[in-house]
Symmetry: D2
Subunit: 359 residues, 4 copies
């Protein structure tokens, strides 16, 4: 199986290189009758834009063209195809890179795999492909909304700056006025300052994102291999630069005793009530009705604006500086992408769960 | 899609409950001509046994019955079915648990999903199903061996005791004489002491496993969704009690600058040589030929031998102590399971990669 | 993808060679809560037995061992594994065939594909594997029964003897007292006579099966590639010796004019009523609520009891007579297999259709 | 699984309604390094055009826009997306049909399934979607050409006029100068006359197509469910208006004896030589190196230009005449579509077969 599809019953197939004509995809399995809120989808795509700029990263207008599957704005059950033109192509910026392998990029591994690669801005390996994830994820969010499910992502870390940690004990409302998806807006200046300083040196910063999924019905997830957390982990690690995933208490749970970690249960108004939620809302691979939360760690973008020693395909070395438009810190933009991938997983499992029982 | 299959071209479909008749599976896609080394597979299964026991955990003889797909010991390209009888069934130990939800187990979520559940030792959610993973993984290792690929797992953490950390700078040879897969055998006593103390209190311990994959050819992994690390993350999080996954520098990379993290490349004897391997052998979702390494964090087994408050399906609460055979610390046993899941992923991608180019 | 699985949400994975230890399979996706009627499944397997014997074909007791997925006789939503031992193995009968390619068998093509083959009775290519189809199909029938769907197959042709033709205008009730699934029991003697005469000469006969599916709800089938008839066609042509499939008027429709063939609609008691059903209950790939009917043509079993010139793997020719137990005419046994494959397709689409709309 | 994808390793995902903006698709799994011959693809699309016109059927310019996956004209291993604009939309022609179910169309079944349907020319159920099959099939043919495999389709029947029959004993060279893919060009006038007469009465004609696949290597096909003929049958029955499929001698084999039907083998110059090819080049579901041939039967297009009684969604009946552009006989156009679907199946199995053995 080639790897450009994700999901089983709600399924996105993606295409497009960074500096090709367009990126886009086909959503197959959107339930008929769904109303597509185009404004919402545009607003999600805007959340993917760079919110401020130490350097001058690429900012596409990103207009979605809807090609099929809709009668007016209603899904017909047929495939929904969409595309977004790549209007701001600057392939010539990559001419010096035709023949060299940028460090910690996909240049070398793609060439070894395929015997050919798109040198123009990383081609398929560029973050540009996440446009497709965001659009398909936004449609998935509309499906989830019908079931009352909410997905909220936050910046958890920028560079060495820790901003929030699991578990999610307190209600977290994203300050939607803020340009940055932070739980504590008072720290925005601090974050911006850190990024600006990195930008001045031509360097880049990594970080982490925390995502919360509220009002998930119990029962989602398919044991034993397609556990809900397994599909979430795959979804997150499929995002470029992602290096780590943990849900619930994650690595912290590794150092705990069973008696500490076990989520006690109680009865409240005739219903099961969980006293703690260390398991992050998933037990045995199946959602238990509690909030799902997880954290994703990302390495810094490898495109730094400093000279680096590079190897070329004819095995020569030279010092090259990458130009083009790149983020100093891509973490703020990743929040909507993490949410989108989460929505793809949850929507798919929501549909899959319809087949779990006799009706 | 129900969730009991894993892999695309090398594919295992698994069955079996903890206290049912048997666990087993069907390997579909084993390349014809492979010689099955039955002794090796038995030895892998033995690595899954509890190596020592504070309490008296279940220890099955675990004889593999091979049902199909082999002519003598040679794979014919047809499905290889196998099963392992559940000989040491003690379902009566679970009678007090027929109607209660054990904390942090799958009892509650399974019942919500399916409307029915196997109360006998967790049924399908039990660690017993990992027998199937180990057998299928062992066959996958035999395939990988043909390509020179080696997989080695190690105990990285037991409870709060840290035993090794990425990155993998030094050659790590597992001391195969040791009962425990540690890189530093001198610490075995310390580990055993920690587990014994936990066992005395009826408590359990979590921990972490590090896995290294050596001599992987460049080119494995299918962008953009089936990146090699994405499939590894899914494989690991599909293991019961797994809570976290990171590859390369993982969460540590999140706090680094691009100029620090980028893996410099050089030329050595006319070939690309990586100066560092922070990326853990995968770039753009595709293996680059360097060693792949990752860490998996596991929560403690939730079956503690202490009284716990439990809720029953008729919404009453009572204090119950779980009996039956359970591990105080399952981390030593998890090493071979982590390796097996790794082998499934790498073997599948090895076969998938055969379709990447024109021949 | 290896080819030993069928279906998406109701999915059977099959294993087993003719003269190996056992044949069996794993049903993944059986909806939780289904009661398994073991007697019904046994009775379906009995329908697969040779009903009378000119020669002495193999007749296994065929006891199903259920290995997992059931609590008592209730499906738990976990994989249902089963196996049937191959008790009447006579591999020595195949010793003269170790090295020769039997005409119109799979010997030559398997060896070219895999470089190895099971010479014992055709191995995986033997009709023995249909045991698995019948068991999985019988479970599927139990699911369909919950929705009122009925599947009835009939012998349509034996050798040159035509017994029934589409379209299905009259109510067809299978005479369940008869040993043969004929619509007109008065023709049983004629059929038996024809087969007996072929048996006397050591020859074999082909034929055709007609299958009717009644009370199918409108809406099953997934355009454009997974049209209901496309999945039925695949299911039927996956049966060994099947050579042809047609639904509705089939090839006869090719010679008709649109004005003749179009299925007129009318209104009866406020509901759509079809005046004719030339389309065989499927339009645009989706069931329309009318009866589905189709015909499957099978070549004669290639194992004749006459001397045939055969080529061996070292490219020598010799005259060999196949011994062992083989059917003179396998059409009577194929009826339940055709029904089983139909049940697999319809059950799968019934579950898939649950995801078609917003709920 | 929604049904708009076809294939496993060479995989097309399709989108588009007849009178929406565009039809198109994503080819995932095209082997890297393939040169795309754009002229060839255009010529294949032209073969899909109506070759002559009793009425005035729709004739789109059908320019393919390539959106991704190519560097110049070389496949990079990344998804190849393409679209064809629907330039000649005449949705107003369908206004009288907004609310009625056209006989033997998909109107009624789509509405029952999805609760909504595209009334404009059949929407997704229109033959317009076959543009995507032809483009993806043409790329597949380029892959097959590298292995020397050739696919040739012919008109076998138009209305009641039989033009050719299996088996394929004589070499069949399509007269490429002819507008119609006939083996005997002298019959072209007869065919055109028959279609013209049907057009005069506003009626439509069905027919059949025969397809031959030459130089297929032995070994393609995956037992037991994904037999090569099973996937071909599915591919053919997924084409709109297809009603029947047979390969080799097909239904004719049903009336034969084993001693007649069995394909004798011989040795010629040290290689296996088949004396006959009744099995149509496939044995045990796997190609044996002989020519593959099969026949597909199609019903007449249901859009006749005669008044028909139709039922509306509010259960009223009225007499309506369908206008718009429709074929009197679509068989000539179906030849390239049958070939395209064949190419998809064979290319997919060619890649799948790479995983069959140890390397």
């Amino acid at each position: 199986m080639p790897g450009n599809s994700f999901g089983h019953l709600y399924r996105i197939t993606s295409f497009g290189e960074s500096h090709g004509k367009a990126v886009g995809g086909i959503i197959d399995g959107c339930p008929a009758g769904l109303s597509i809120d185009f404004d919402f989808i545009d607003s999600e795509l805007k959340r993917r834009n760079p919110v401020f700029t130490g350097t001058t990263p690429r900012k596409e207008p990103d207009r979605v063209e809807w090609l099929s599957g809709l009668l007016g704005n209603t899904a017909m059950g047929t495939p929904i195809a969409f595309l977004v033109q790549n209007e701001l192509q600057l392939p010539e910026a990559y001419d010096p890179l035709v023949d060299v392998y940028r460090p910690s990029h996909a240049d070398f591994s793609y060439e070894r795999k395929y015997g050919i690669r798109d040198y123009r801005g990383g081609g398929r390996a560029s973050g540009r492909e996440t446009v497709v994830r965001v659009v398909a994820g936004a449609v998935a969010k509309l499906i989830l909304k019908q079931s009352g499910i909410r997905i909220d992502g936050f910046i958890a870390q920028v560079g060495s700056l820790q901003l929030m940690q699991p578990p999610m004990d307190a209600p977290l409302n994203r300050n939607t006025d803020s340009g940055l998806p932070l739980t504590d807006p008072s720290r925005e200046a601090e974050v911006i300052d850190l990024i600006s300083k990195a930008a001045e040196t031509g360097d880049t910063l990594g970080g982490a994102v925390i995502c919360r999924v509220a009002e998930v019905p119990a029962g989602l997830g398919e044991p034993v291999f397609d556990k809900l957390q397994a599909d979430l982990a795959k979804a997150m690690l499929s995002i470029g630069t992602a290096k780590a995933f943990e849900y619930g208490l994650g690595f912290r749970a590794a150092g705990m005793k069973g008696s500490e970690h076990n989520d006690k249960m109680s009865v409240d108004h005739g219903k099961v009530a969980f006293v703690t939620n260390h398991d992050g809302g998933i037990q045995g691979g199946i959602s238990n009705g509690e909030e799902i939360y997880f954290r994703v760690g990302f390495k810094p973008v490898p495109s730094i604006h400093q000279p680096q020693k590079m190897v070329s395909s004819n095995m020569e070395t030279s010092e090259v500086t990458i130009h083009g438009r790149h983020d100093t810190c891509h973490i703020p933009r990743l929040v909507v992408i993490v949410e989108a991938m989460t929505a793809l997983v949850v929507a798919d499992h929501l549909l899959r769960n319809r087949a779990a029982r006799l009706q």
